[in-house]
Each structure stands twice: as structure tokens, then as C-alpha cells.
Amino acid sequence: MSTSTGNDAAIKGKYAREIFVSRMLKAILWSIVLQCVYVSHVLFLMNTDILHPLQWIKNAYTSISSIGTWFYLLPLGVMTFAQGVLMSKDLMTEASCVRTRFGILCSAFQPRNVVMAVLNMVFGAMIVSYYSALLGDETNILSRKCGSEHGKCLNERNLYLLSCGIWIGFYAATKRQIWEVRCVMFPMVQQLKSSQVKMRLGQSVLQSFKEAVLPYIYFCILYWWCGGYLREHLSGFIGLPIDEDSAIPVFFWMKPFLTLRCLLFSAIIILTGRTMEMLFQVFLTERCHFPITDTSGDQVTLNDVLVSPLPLMKRLGYLDLLHIAERDTARQAELFSLSLPGGHPHNWNGVVTEVLRALDSFSSGLSVAVCDINRASNGPLLPSSPQKSKKLNESCIAPTSPVLSSPTSPSLRMRNMSIYQANDLNTSVAGNSMLYTTDSVQSRQKKDLDLMAASKQQLNNALQWIRRKPGINLLFGEMEDANARHLLLHSQHLSWGAQALAHLSAASLKRDIYGVVQKDLPAIIKSLVQLKNVLERLPLHHHKRALRPGSLDLRLKAALTSAVKRSLYILCSAFGPYLTELPLSEDLRQVLSNYVTYKEG
């Protein structure tokens, strides 16, 4: 029995992976198709002849339809494919939280990222040589005929263009790895894929040209600074003298055509990367309809997806769950139905258990992060301030208390608070135990410590002291809000989960004929209130007056807070008259009373 269940899970996992892989392949293939479209457009523009429009079209058609154009595109296609495969690996797994700036730098130099950067550099060089060839240059050859004794010289103009392509490729890859948030954000509305691509493509083209300016300026500075070394070393390496005719003067950026050409190539390199990202977003975020029950034995059901190890599949599951809760009444009925034989609400139980587990786990994680932030903002505590220490500990423990409590037993909740306090202090404050313990505890510990432990403690203190030094702290010091920001960045699906549970619970008043939902109502309310409390305690804010919206994690925090409050309002609107019948603690009742009377802002 267990073997068959394991086989089923493996088969379903395989199907889920297949859905993911097929979408990624489609995105990569469409990226190659769009490359062809870009080439066609560039050729069309390059053959511009306003006075002879027919000739213009004819020339453009001839260039586009020539075999050479598409033959040279093959290596570009292969490179695009390789880039796509590497980029898709990033999306398959959720990035782990990096708490120091040094860690961020190190993660940028992971082998995969290095390969990615190298690929991008090669890709940059290929784009430059390909488009230059289309424009009639011979950029792929670094030499040109000249009057020297060899008969050939180093063509610095081509070297300049090629190195520009390589630099832009490197810059784009590094920027993406270090500065850009790598998480798939689902669009707020599900348009057709063609409409999405059409809408985003125009924006991407403009954005690419804008983004190309800054790295090109950096390149100009770099080339002005060490272009001479490059030229001389390369000249020595390939044994060709420098051609004075093609030499780039000191004020080379004042050559308008060269600058324009470089900017065009830079924009195309950036655009190619952006196009692939955009296509990944479009294809991977397409809504999927998962069946509630597996009728044929090999279907991936909603419950399977919700527990999928692939983060993206999990999100697709949550998105589909919200769709069911808001619109799909047929599948709602299926969700509320009982199993045959047995008469158990397996469908509903599977969904509610997984969503509540995710919400509770997020709340716990976030409450620990809140503790970290509060400790950091209050600064290291001195052993002589027991009251402050106690207050801080209490403030850190409070949000997590409902996780372990039963809605009907406040005493149990208090006991659990103490359990958590012990755990929390052991795990989170281990490094700073000397600072956080009171005098009495300190003296007792000191007696117990042997020489080895004392020296270890001294070493730790020394390390702490070094870490507090300004420059070192900047690089190696832990960013206290890193954990919270990391959690928030991956919380989009939790907003959907909370709202889906609220909508389903409200709909159950009319459609749940077996009453399978109402047994879970206290647990749902408890989880939502607990999450709301933790989010409200999270000290990350941005000023609404600022014209530019805040960073993505802050906006996701606002979205999650709003979604949780909305969910509580939905529940209170639907179950307002019956809330007294639910087994809820007095604290929860008090919180809900504000929602029933619409006094919670």
C-alpha cells in the first residue's frame, strides 16, 4: 500500500515537473523567435530609404530572407537556449536567505552565476559581431589590411566594439545576480499571453535603451583608463601592430556614429536578457486549472500542487485555489464534497491543512525576524538592565504565542509562551548570551565554565568587537531585517491562501451542505489574527508621500497585511451573527469585534 502511494507521489511529482519544464521550454523557444523578430526589425530600419520606399522594402526583404542572416543566427539561438536553461534553474528553487553583504557578494560568485556571466559575455561579443556583420562591418576580424610590414594591423575600432559587447554582457549578468530580486511575481490579472508580451515588449525596448546608457558610460571610462593596456597586450599577443588609421582617439566618445552603434548593441544585449525574463514571467505565471479529485489516477490535483516541492508549482496551486474560491462554484462544490467510500472531507482537509500550515509557519518565521529587528534596534543589552531584558524578551515572544495555543485554553497558551521563550533565547541569542543574561545567571554560569569555555567566550567577544567596527560591520555584520525581507519576498501566495480560505469559508454558509468547513473556522480565524498581529509588529515602513513606490518587500508586506485584514472582514461579515457560537479565546473575540463593527482601519 505504502509502495503504491509512494509511486503515485513520484508520478505526480514527475507530472508537476513536466508542466514546469514544458513552460520553460516554450519561454526559451519564444525567446529565440523574438530574437529573429529583433533582427528583422533592425534590418528593416538599417535599409531605410525614405525617397525610395519600394526599394527600401525590397532591400529589407532581401536582407531578411538571405540564408546568411539566419545561418549566423543559429549560434545566437544556441546561446539563448543555454542562457535560458541556466536562468530557469534559478526559478526552480527558492533562494535561501543571505544575511550579510559579504554573503550576497559570495552568492554572486557561485559557479552557476560565473558560468552565466561568462555566457553573457560571449553572448555580448556574438551580438556585436552578428549585428555588425548585418550592418556590413567585419567586426569578427580583429585585423585589417594596412601598410605595415606584416600587411595586417590590429583594428582597434572592432576591438572597441567587441570589448563593449563583452562588458555590457558582464555588467547585465552581474547586475542581475547582485542587485535584482530573483522571484517570479504573478500579474494581478491574467491576460492572454500575446497581450502580455505585446504590452511588456514596448516597455522593455524603451527600458533597454535607457539602461544601456549608464553601463556604456562606465565602459567609456574603463576604456579611457585601461584601453591602452588592452590594445598593447592584445597587439603583442596576436603579433600585429596597431593600425593608426583605426586607432580610437582619447576623445573617442565624441565619435557620434561609434557611440550610437555601441548604444544600439548594448540595448540589444540588455533587451535579449529582458525578453527572456519577461517570457519566463509570462509563461510560468499562466494560471493552471488543477482538478480537485484525481479521476484517472495520474492527474496532478490541487492538493498535490499545494504540497509540491517546486515553489512555482505551489504558487500556481494557491492561485488556482483563489480562483476557485472567488469564481469557480463547480469546483467549490467538489472541494466541499465527501469521499466515496468513507464519507470523509479529504479534499477540504488537504487544502485547509496545507494553507494553515503555510500561514502559521510564515507567522512563526516572521515573529522570529521581528525579534531580531527589535533586538538590533534596541542595541546590545547590558547585564545590569534586567528590566529592559525582560521587556524585550516579552515583546519577542508575544506574537508567537497564538501559534502554540489552543483557542479555548489561555492557560495553555501561557505555558507555551514559556516554552517558546526558552527555545527562542537558546536559538536566537546564543552568540550574545553574555550580554543578554542577568547578573545572577552570569555569575552562576561563570562558576560552571571551565578554562576552555572561558577562552571560547573571550574569542567570541573579540569577534563581536571586531564585527562592530564600521567597515567590517558593513561587510560582515548581519542585516537584522534580511530575514523579514526574505520572508516577505516569497509571500505573494500567502495573500491568495488567506483570501481563498476566507472566501471559501464565507461561501460554505450556502454551499457546504455537509458542514465540513465550519469545524476549521476557529483555526482559520486564529491563524489570520496571528499573522495580522505579527505583520503589524514588523517595523518595516515606507513613506506614502514618496512618489516612487517602496521596495518590493515593503509593498508585499502591505499587500499581505491588506489581504489578511480583508479576509477577516469577509469572515466577520459572513459569520458575524454566529461568532459567539465559535470556540474562540477572549482575545480573539475582542479582535474580531472591531471587524464586525468595521472599526479596524
Binding site: 494581478m188 492572454l192 504590452m199 462554484t329 472566501h503 506614502k544 502591505a558 472582514y569 461579515s573 482601519g601
Partner: protein
Amino acid sequence: MVASCAGFSPLPPEGCVSVCEIDGKVAHKPFESANPAEFTNTVVTHPVISLSHDAVHLAAREDARHVFLHVEEKLLKRIISTWYEQGTVEALELAATPNDQSGYILQMSARIALKAIHAMSLVLNSVYPHFGERGQHLTASGAHSRSLHHNPVRCIAWHPHITKIAVAVSDDSVRVYTAMSPGLVPTLRSKGQRSVSCLAWRPHSASELAVGCHAGVLVWQVDPKSVVTRPSISCATVLKQPGHSPVSSVQWNSTGTLLVSAATGDTSMYIWDVDLQESIPLRRVGGGGISLVSWSPDVHKLLAATTSVTFRVWDSSNWVPERWRVLSGHVRTACWSPCSTVLLFTTSEESVVYALQFKPNCAQLDTMFYSDTPVSEQAARVVINLAQEEVGNGTRIGGTVLSMVWDRLGRHLALIFENSPLVAIYRTDLVPHLLITPNCLVKGASGEQPTTIAFQNNFDVGACLTIAWSSGRIQYFPIVYQELKNPNQSVRHNASMQYRPDQSFLETSMAPDASSFMHSFQDSFLSY
């Protein structure tokens, strides 16, 4: 059967105003003593709102600069200050004006530049008809209330769940009145909130109010626990997009997750995720700027009316529109039935109400028979003929509709007209098919004209029509059914009640099953 403007209850005698309707009987009282509390206590706790012209501090308009004394300045300085304050075109016009200080070359250059700008705008206007119009005219063309700047009240919006009403005043402020705290009236005002044209409360939220104005959309967070009467701009999220101005219509979807905004000067409408501060433009070729947007209650469809004959009904599952055209003018006002199967709309030039029938979703199959013909192959049908009729004392009713609202139970439809001082209320039945019959007329005090109307959303004992009159008075007109009353809401019998002419018919046909009708609607369409 097509309803008309005939068959309403008779108008109240001269000097009297309509106060309420209790079980089909319309009550009238002299204006000075008109108080619905004499008949019903359903609106006793409602805030009393009266915004006279004196109480409204009008915002500074363009002509405010004329109050200052004229000072002789050098031409160059004047041109620069005109450019800074009013824009390039005005500065060029000043430079082109013959003047002692301006030389011939400057005048000629300015004239040539002006001609070039005019030629460009002509070309642009031929492609986008409404891009040439700016300012108040464009705001007014998209607004659904009478003459924006001559009435104290521009628009009103009831909160979807509680007795809380937002009133946009002609001084560009928005005042929020709550039944729970009548003395505390938060006033939402900011420098960027000019020419307010529309309001929308967020569903499943106590405090979020979207205000559409010339510059964009401001989503205010009015904390119900706060005692601050002038919240600062830090309580608002400003939603702007280049070219998306002036905003003429905003609406939340019924789940409160998305906000849609439309601007008469923009061919795109924007769907906003306010919390994430992200937007997606939705655009199709043709039609010009968008004047009106309206979500269906089940969030499956979204109406987008343009400033031309075209309007679209978007399917929100894949965001593909169905394109429709009216015969002339543009769709001015529209409302959805609670079950989202019927869309009623009126145009700016025809005196009729059209209805579009949509196929219901599976869960809403309360009716047994529906045509399999796709909606796009059907035509909108006329359901009310609003040809003008005299209803006594020389008062006429009918004509082109200024605003139309349908109550949340789908039982009453209220209309105000461009050229009539009366509010017409029709009774509507949706089961088994749409049936509209005249109900009653609401008359204000002498000289008063209805500016804008709205139904209260949380009125459980019938419907409460709220009318903003041109005098600044806001009237609650409750339509109460005793069968639906709450234990704490009662009806007081009064001798001044008048029976409608068709009351005998109503007494026999409607009254016995009115409660069952209403309950069935509540069960069918009102979820949470």
C-alpha cells in the same frame, strides 16, 4: 414590455416634498417639516448633511489672479512667469501678441511656433478626439453629476457595509460622514486633489476610499478610530500614470482586490493593485478616452464606456473585450443587476434605457430558460422609453439621463434627468425576466434639482435612495417594506401617506410575496 414615464404616483402638492415610501405608499410633507423619522426610524441615525454654497470654500480658480493689482513687468519676465504658471502655449500666445516691447522677430517666431503646435494638435485630435480637450471641460464630460462647479455636491458614495457616506464637495474636498460618530467629519483635501469627479469605497475594508480627480487617483485611508478631522496626504496613496488624466471613473471589484480607473483623456484604463502600487493598462484600438467603468458584482465582467459610440464589456477571466456600439452619443451611465446577468445603460443623446442580457454563470442559474445565442450576436433592447411627459404643474419628466443607479437587491432603479427637477424611481423584477414598472417620483424643494444619486448598500429593510440636491441638501428617501424590517427598525403610520394609483394592484400582487421575493434575492445574490 417597455416602461415609460407614465404611471408614476402623482406629484405632491405645491410646497410639499417627497419624504419616503412605506409599503408602496409615498409620504409627502411640507419642506420645512419634512422628516422621514415621522414615518420610519430606519434613517434616524443617518448623518444630517447640508452643504450650502456658503459652507463650501471654493478652490482658487484661474481668474483668482485678477484680484491682484497689475504690475508693469518686462516682456521677457512676463513670458517666463506665464510659461512657469500656465504653460508653453500661453507663453507663446503672450509673445505673439503685438506689444511695444516685443520685436518683430519674436512675434513672428511665436506665431510660427503656435501654428505648428495647432497643426500638430489637429493631427493628434483626428486620431484621439479627446486629446485636444483639457481641464474642466474634459472632467465634466466624464462626470455623472450635474454641472461640476455650480453645485456644492459633486458626487456621493456609500460604504458597501456600514452607514458611512463620502461626499465630494465642489471645493475639491471629500467629507466622510458616519452614523456612529455624527460630530466627527474627516475632510480629505490635498493640493493634488483637484476637480474630484468620482469616489469609491473599497469593499471588505473600513477605511479605504478611492478619489478620482484631475491628476489621478488618491486612495485615502480614513482610520475609523482616529479623531483627526484633516488627515494629511501621508494617509493617501497616490496612483498616477503619464497621460492618465483627468480620471472620470473609479471602481473596486466586489472582492476589494483590484481598482479600475478610467480617464477621458486616455484610451487606456488601468487596473491597479493598490497595495503593491502596480498597474496594468488595458487598451484596444478605437473609441477615444474612457469615461465610465463598472465591474459586475460577480467580478466576471467589466464595462468600459468610451467617449465615442463604442463601449466594451471585458471578460475578466482572460481580459478579452466584446465591442459594442450605440447609435449616437456615448454611454453616459450604466449599472449591473445584482446577479450580473443584466446591464442597463443610457446614452448621452437618447431618451431610453437599454438592457444587455448576459448568460448567467452555472451557480446563478436561478432562471430556467436562457438563450444559447452569444451575447455578441444579440442586440441591446430598449426597456424604458424616457420620452418627456408632463406630470402636473407644468413639471416634465424624461429626456436624456444624467445618472442611473440600481439598488443592491435589484428591486429599485432610480434615474435623474438633464432637464427635469424630479427623481424617477422604477420597480424592477429580475425573475423570471427583467420587468420594469414605474414606482414613484421624488420632488425636492422649489428650485432644487437633483445633482447626483446613490443607493445605500447596507439597508436591509428595502432601499434607501440618497439624493444630493443643487442646494447642497442631501436627502435620504427610504423605501421600506414592513415584512423585511429589523426588530429595531419600525415603521410609524402617518395620515399624510398617499397611495399610488396602481396601489390596489400592488397590494394584491406585490405585497404578499414581496418578502419572499426579497428574501429569495438576498439568498441568491447577496453572498457576504
